[in-house]
Symmetry: C2
Subunit: 346 residues, 2 copies
DNA sequence: ATCAGCTTTGCACACGATTGCAGAAATACT
DNA sequence: AGTATTTCTGCAATCGTGTGCAAAGCTGAT
C-alpha cells in the first residue's frame, strides 16, 4: 500500500506538503499542489483511514446492532439507516446480535473498541440485554440510541413504536367486524405498557369480550404455530379470528389453515402485526398494523448524529414514541355466522 | 477514553509493561500482571483497535458489498457470511452498492481506505460494475472474491451458481408436465453462458417447443409484471405456464393472477427462481430452483480467508461453480387441457 | 542593500498501541 | 565478594496522517 511518504519522495517534497496538497490546503503552491494531486491520482493512492482515524480521534462510523436479519423487518430498517447515515456523512458497521451467543454485549464491545462515533442498538424480543455495556460506553462518551422498548429507559435515548395503540386498533377492528371468539398466537408481553398484547387484550376487555384463556397460545417456533392452529380448530367452539403476533407468524398460520382446508377470510379472519412487505405477498393480503418505518429510522439516525455532534438542543435523554396505524386488507371479514346474517338481510 | 498510558500511571509502570500484561506476555512479573489486569477490568479499559490496526497493519475485518437488501436473498446471505466470518475471526463491514449511486466503486474505495483485509463482492443484475476498482485493489494486495457471474472472469476469484442448469431443469419440468405454451417474465440475459434464461430457452428449443416471441416479456418494475400478466392473458392463445425470473417477481404474478380470477396451478402454472423463504410463504407454495445457500457462502468466505492468510494451495484465480436444484412444490401442474384428458382416462 | 511582509516548505510531535533492545534488578553460581 | 545468568522493566522506534511552529524563499518598498 502506497503512503504519503512514498508520494513525497516521488514528488521531491516532504510528507507534510503532500498531506496538505491532498487536503487542498491554501498553504501549498498551486503548481506543486496540482502536481502532487496528479501523482496521487495516477498512482492510485488511497488514504489510510486507520491512520487518519487514529490521528483525528474520530471514525465517521456508526455502529448498527440488529438482532437478526431473517425477519424482513430488519433488512428494511438496515437499508434506511444506511441511507440516512450516508447522507449525514457516516458509514455503517453492522453487527448481528442474535448470531453470536455473546450477543449484544460482544457487539457493543467490538464497536466501542473500533471507536465507532455512535451506536444504534435495535433490541430484540429479549429487550435490552447489554444494559451494563450500554451504560459504560455511554459513560465513556459514545452516544447510544436504542430502538425498541426497554424497561426503565429514563436515562437512555430511545425510539420506539407504541405497539399498545396498534394492538388496541386491531382489537377494535375485529370487534367491529363482529368477532367475539378471538384467538391469539403470540409471546408473553415483553414491552411493558407499550406491548401490543397489552393493548389488544385491554381493548377486548373494554368491549366486554375478554380473551378466553384457551384462546391464548404462546408460540416459540414455527412448529408451535402449526400445532397451535390445529389445537384451536379442535376446540368445541373454535375461534373466528386469529391474531398473529407478527406478520411472519401470520404467514405460517396461512399455510396451516390452508392445510386444514379453511379459507381466509371466509372461514377464518387472520390479522398480523408489523406491516412487512410480506403482508402484501400473502394471499389474501394481510390486515395488519404498522408504522411507516421511514420516519422512525429517520428519527433514529438524526438523534444519534445530533448527539455525536453535540447539536441536539436538549441534553436530557429523549424518548421518541411513534404511533402505528391499522392497515385493513383482505384477510379480515365478519365471522361466518354474522356473514350469513348479513346475507339473509340483504 | 482510557488509554494504556492512563493505566500505566495508575499502576506506576510504563505503558509497555501494561501492554505486555494485557497480552498475557510471560515477560512480566506474575503479580504485576495480575494487578494490571485487575486494574484494566475495573476501569473498563477497551483497547483502541484503531491504534492496534495501524500498528499491526491488519484489521481483521472483511468488507461485504451487497447490491441491496430488500430482496430477501441478500439478508440470508449476509447472515451466513457474518457467521462464517466471525468463526474465522473476522468482523464484517457491510456496504450496500445500489443504495448510493456511486455504487460499487465507492464501496470498494471506502473498504480499501479502511484497510479491510479482504473484500467479498456480490454482484447485482448489472454484473461487475467496478471492474477497474477491483483490479486496482487486488493489485494493491487486498484479496477480492466475487459472488455472481461476471464477464471475462479468468483473472478473478469467484463463486457463482450455474443458473443455466437451473433454467434447464425448470424447462424440463414444465415440458414433462405437458406445457407447450410457456411465458417468461424476466430480464435480458446478463450472466452469459451461466444465465438462467439461456438454459431455460435452450432446453425448450431442444424439446421442440421453442419460446414464442410474444410470450417473452421483459419487465423492469412491479407495475411491468402486472401489465405483463394481463397482456399475456389477452392473447388469442394464452400461456398455460409462466416462468418468473425471480421468486419475488413470482409473488407479484400470484397477486395479479388472483386479481384476474385465475387459480394456481389449476388455471395457470407458475414457477420461480431463487428458492427464497418467500417461496414457501406463497400459497400455493412455489415451484422454483435454488441452491442451498450455505455451501455457497461457506466457499465464498473460506476462499477469501485462505487468500488473506495466503494458505490457499493454488495461487491461480479460482472459479467455484455451484449447481442449483429443482424444487417442486404446489404451483406447477399439468395444463388444463392435459388435466381434463387425464381425468377422462382415469 | 536592507528590511518588512507574504508565501511556501519542512521539522517534529501527536494519536495509541506493539515490540526489539538495552539495561536494571534479582537470583544463582563459583 | 564477584561474576554469570535469569527475570523483569523501560526506552524508543514504528505504523501513516495531520498540524503548529519555525524558518526559508521570495517580493517589493525604502
Amino acid at each position: 500500500m502506497i503512503t504519503l511518504e512514498d508520494l513525497a519522495v516521488q514528488a521531491g517534497v516532504s510528507h507534510s506538503t503532500v498531506s496538505r496538497a491532498l487536503a487542498d490546503s491554501p498553504l501549498v503552491n498551486p503548481q506543486t499542489k496540482e502536481r502532487i494531486q496528479n501523482l496521487a491520482r495516477e498512482s492510485g493512492y488511497q488514504v489510510n483511514q486507520v491512520a487518519r482515524n487514529l490521528k483525528s480521534r474520530t471514525t465517521k462510523t456508526i455502529g448498527l446492532v440488529v438482532p437478526e436479519v431473517s425477519n424482513p423487518f430488519y433488512p428494511e430498517l438496515i437499508q434506511q439507516v444506511a441511507d440516512h447515515a450516508r447522507l449525514a456523512g457516516y458509514s455503517l458497521q453492522l453487527h448481528l446480535s442474535a448470531a453470536d451467543q455473546e450477543s449484544e454485549s460482544a457487539c457493543i464491545a467490538s464497536l466501542s473498541g473500533n471507536r465507532a462515533d455512535g451506536i444504534l442498538l435495535v433490541t430484540g424480543e429479549r429487550g435490552l440485554v447489554a444494559r451494563n455495556q450500554v451504560n459504560s460506553v455511554a459513560a465513556a462518551g459514545t452516544p447510544v440510541v436504542i430502538m425498541g422498548w426497554v424497561q426503565d429507559a429514563e436515562h437512555l435515548d430511545l425510539v420506539a413504536g407504541d405497539d399498545a395503540v396498534g394492538g388496541r386498533e386491531l382489537a377494535h377492528h375485529l370487534s367491529d367486524l363482529g368477532h367475539t371468539r378471538i384467538a391469539v398466537l403470540g409471546k408473553a408481553p415483553h414491552r411493558g405498557a407499550l406491548d401490543r398484547m397489552v393493548g389488544f387484550t385491554g381493548a377486548l376487555t373494554e368491549r366486554g369480550t375478554p380473551l378466553l384463556p384457551e384462546m391464548v397460545i404462546e408460540v416459540a417456533s414455527e412448529e408451535g404455530v402449526r400445532t397451535g392452529v390445529t389445537d384451536l380448530l379442535k376446540l368445541p367452539e373454535p375461534p373466528t379470528a386469529i391474531f398473529a403476533y407478527q406478520d411472519s407468524l401470520a404467514a405460517v398460520v396461512y399455510r396451516q389453515l390452508e392445510k386444514e382446508g379453511l379459507s381466509i377470510p371466509d372461514d377464518m379472519t387472520v390479522v398480523g402485526f408489523d406491516n412487512l412487505d410480506l403482508a402484501t405477498y400473502l394471499s389474501p393480503q394481510l390486515t395488519t398494523v404498522g408504522t411507516h418505518i421511514s420516519p422512525l429510522t429517520s428519527a433514529f439516525v438524526s438523534l444519534l448524529v445530533a448527539r455525536i455532534q453535540g447539536t441536539y438542543p436538549d441534553p436530557a435523554p429523549q424518548s421518541i414514541i411513534v404511533t402505528p396505524k391499522l392497515i385493513v386488507r383482505s384477510s379480515s371479514a365478519p365471522p361466518r355466522s354474522q356473514l350469513n346474517l348479513t346475507d339473509s338481510i340483504s
